[in-house]
């Protein structure tokens, strides 16, 4: 009776599905699971032995079995445009353009292929070597590519970090649109004025946020409920007269900071520049963090990670100008603004370079390889102060929505339909 084929010969199914006797089916299922587990265990054991003998196998396996993350699946806009709002990797775009130019130059001047190669060397070092996607349209190009790569290999260059933003890579259209932001020579020491929305009550949090930026002051928006309500444009004018470079407005919702508007007040003769509006989420003051430290007023170092598109570079540059250009390294404080999938995580740490403990591994680069030359060295981090997440929502030409005039008053606005495609990001 408890036979495998009781008229229901389900081919392809597991053994346990073939019995109609529930008790036997249960037992068969347990047996099946055990066997599967055993198989897997043995497989892994065997693999580990093999890889212990030959570590290359492990590398190969890891290289082929890379987890398919959203970052890897990221979708870029397929245009040769680098205006705000286009999801284009600026580095990639530059590289593609250079390659096109080179290809044209090569086609134009056949006999001077070598000269072009030399020029390419200069261009080569500025190319990001992390991503692929070279266009090998013609044989000549292929030859040039090979030559280029050979030369690149000959030079012992330290590969740049792939997460940190390179602000030199700003596209020309951006520098044209926001000249005050990008052509600051020499860079000005920032002076930040922080205030809240009308009738704001989050004075403590706003003060903490002000304390993040060296050389900043927090001023209450309203003296009392019946006092004169200064508009943002008026405050910007006063601040500019007093030499402030940045005006920040912290909005609140239910006694928690919910938005941050950064308005760049430029020098004289230049109207106030772009204003970027972010929403704040998950605001945690220093007290809420376990083992937190207290900040000192040393100028912190700045880490800007993961800003790839023109919009991202604008945001990065804006945040760059909020901090003094020369950090005080003896303070050992670092402020991180890390962009991941359009969410900018703000963290403040105090770091120390120390020797690795016996149980610690070596630090690994973004690609997964161990960092050369840094064996046995780790950086300890102690978190200081508030932590929150920012998400860029608007970029206005002037002081917020009301203070911008002209056709391009609104440079970029976040719309919910941008999030339809899960793998497309704006920053």
């Amino acid at each position: 009776m408890p036979s495998g084929n009781k008229g229901k010969n389900r081919s392809g199914g597991s053994l346990s599905l073939k019995t109609s006797n529930k008790i036997v089916r249960k037992q068969l299922y347990v047996k099946q699971k055990k066997e599967q587990g055993k198989e897997r265990h043995e497989e892994r054991h065997r693999r580990r032995k093999e890889e212990a003998k030959d570590p290359k196998l492990r590398e190969e396996r890891l290289a082929t079995n890379q987890p398919l993350t959203i970052e890897r699946k990221r979708v870029w806009d397929d245009v040769d445009d680098d205006s705000l709002g286009v999801a284009v990797d600026v580095a990639e775009l530059k590289r593609r353009r250079l390659e096109k130019e080179e290809a044209e130059a090569a086609r134009a001047a056949d006999g001077v292929a070598e000269e072009d190669d030399e020029k390419d060397d200069d261009a080569d070092s500025m190319l990001d070597s992390d991503e692929e996607g070279e266009d090998d349209d013609e044989d000549a190009e292929e030859r040039m590519e090979r030559l280029r790569q050979e030369r690149a290999q000959r030079k012992p260059s330290i590969a740049p970090s792939t997460t940190s933003t390179n602000l030199d890579m700003t596209p020309d259209s951006l520098t044209r649109q926001f000249p005050n932001l990008f052509n600051e020579e020499p860079p000005v020491d920032p002076k930040v004025l922080v205030t809240t929305h009308l009738n704001g009550t989050i004075h403590k949090e706003a003060e903490d946020i002000a304390a993040i930026f060296p050389n900043s002051t927090y001023i209450r928006r309203s003296a009392h409920a019946y006092g004169h309500k200064y508009s943002v444009r008026e405050i910007a004018k006063f601040a500019k007269n007093r030499g402030y470079t940045i005006l920040m407005i912290v909005g609140e919702d239910l006694k928690k900071p919910s938005s941050l508007t950064v308005i760049h007040l430029n020098g004289e003769d230049v109207p106030p520049g772009p204003s970027l509006t972010y929403t704040i989420r998950n605001y945690l003051p220093g007290k809420a963090l376990l083992g937190h430290g207290n900040p000192t007023n040393h100028y912190p170092e700045l880490l800007l990670n993961g800003f790839k598109t023109p919009l991202g570079i604008l945001a990065a540059k804006s945040m760059h100008t909020m901090f003094p250009p020369k950090p005080e390294l003896q303070g050992r404080q670092v402020v991180t603004l890390h962009n991941q999938r359009d969410y900018i995580f703000f963290r403040r740490h105090r770091y120390v370079f120390r020797e690795a403990r016996a149980t610690e591994k070596n630090v690994v680069t973004a690609e997964g390889k161990e960092m050369e030359g840094m064996q046995g060295i780790r950086a300890g981090l102690q978190e200081i102060g508030p932590r929150f997440t920012l998400k860029l929502r608007r970029v206005d030409k002037g002081i917020g929505r009301a203070g911008s005039e002209g056709e391009d008053a609104l440079k970029w606005e976040w719309k919910a339909k941008m999030e339809k495609v899960r793998t497309r990001f704006n920053l």
């Binding site: 990001d128 030199d168 020369k326 390294l329 050992r332 890390h338 840094m374 929505r401």
Partner: protein, 324 residues
């Protein structure tokens, strides 16, 4: 006489415009009613001679007059007269027009005019204030979008691997020498280790001529060069001092940093100010600093002078001083 009949019916039988409340008030919903109550005097249907003041949707105030002569032409009942924008003039206009009308209507019309003018003024003032403040209420995010963003943020945070990334970035900077030849933020032993490691990897000698002009590492190279030249040291000469300070190193905890930091700090007066905070860390730092001063009195002063000179030079030379 027909007015009486109309009123009897409205009052006693049915009026579509009448609204009765529990407090015993009868309101009239008719748009042309002057007072808003359902009274014999105020009923626009039961009075063949009537007057009201109303606004148009755009805000202009009109005087509406109904006369017995047009009682048989309902479509032409109301004579619409535009009143002046000037309040006093408008009052005069009403007085002129309703000269022979019952005092009640005249009075009520004037009252209505006053109120409407006040309301209009207030609205204009509020609009101007809104315009001056320039604040527009941003609608709240749809709950669906809010939840979606929350979930995505959580996952993005995990994908970001923040502490690992920060550590990696900092070590990259150290490796590339962005902190200069004698970095202020590393202890001596660790820095030695780094240099050792770099030499081993064959990247000990950094080519300054490698990338000139517009490149990736330009900012870093510049910083590096700048800092190197700034902190030229005479430390190399005083070998014996190093060993003494190394002993001190062992006594200090990880977080307190090194004597090297303190040496570099001795140079800057600013750092002294910074260090005048009442932390226990700072106190021990001060002590070690004091100890160091005794050992390296002259060296530090020399360094200070050199640094200041070079700083001045470089501020004019360097085009970009980007923070990292």
């Amino acid at each position: 006489m027909s007015d009486e009949i109309v009123w009897q019916i409205i009052n006693q039988q049915f009026c579509a415009f009448k609204l009765k409340t529990t407090k015993g008030n009868n309101f009239c919903r008719n748009e042309y009613n002057v007072s808003g109550f359902c009274n014999r005097q105020s009923c626009p249907l039961a009075n063949s001679r009537y007057a009201t003041v109303r606004t148009s949707p755009k805000g202009t105030i009109y005087l509406y007059i109904k006369t017995i002569e047009r009682a048989h032409m309902p479509s032409k009942w109301w004579e619409k007269i535009k009143l002046s924008q000037n309040y006093a003039e408008a009052l005069q206009q009403i007085e002129d027009r309703l000269q022979y009308f019952p005092k009640f209507l005249l009075h009520k019309c004037k009252q209505r005019l006053t109120r409407l003018v006040q309301v209009a003024t207030r609205m204009r003032k509020l609009a101007a204030e809104e315009d001056r403040l320039g604040e527009k209420l941003v609608p709240k995010m749809a709950p669906k979008v809010k939840h979606r963003e929350e979930a995505r943020e959580r996952k993005a945070l995990i994908a970001a691997k923040l502490e690992r990334t920060i550590e990696r970035e900092l070590l990259e900077r150290l490796r590339q020498g962005m902190y200069g030849d004698q970095p202020l933020n590393v202890s001596e032993s660790v820095w030695k280790k780094v240099l050792h490691g770099l030499e081993k990897e064959g990247e000990g000698t950094r080519d300054k001529d490698l990338d000139e002009g517009i490149e990736d590492e330009d900012e870093e190279e510049e910083e590096e060069e700048e800092l190197e030249e700034e902190i030229e040291d005479g430390n190399v000469e005083y070998v014996s001092d190093f060993e003494e300070t190394d002993d001190e190193l062992n006594d200090i905890e990880d977080w307190l940093g090194s004597d090297d930091e303190d040496d570099a700090e001795d140079d800057d007066e600013d750092d002294d100010d910074d260090d005048d905070e009442g932390d226990s860390e700072e106190d021990t730092k001060k002590k070690t600093k004091a100890g160091d001063k005794r050992k390296r009195g002259k060296v530090t002063k020399m360094k200070a002078r050199k640094k200041k000179e070079i700083e001045v030079e470089h501020e004019t030379d360097r085009e970009k001083l980007l923070a990292f």
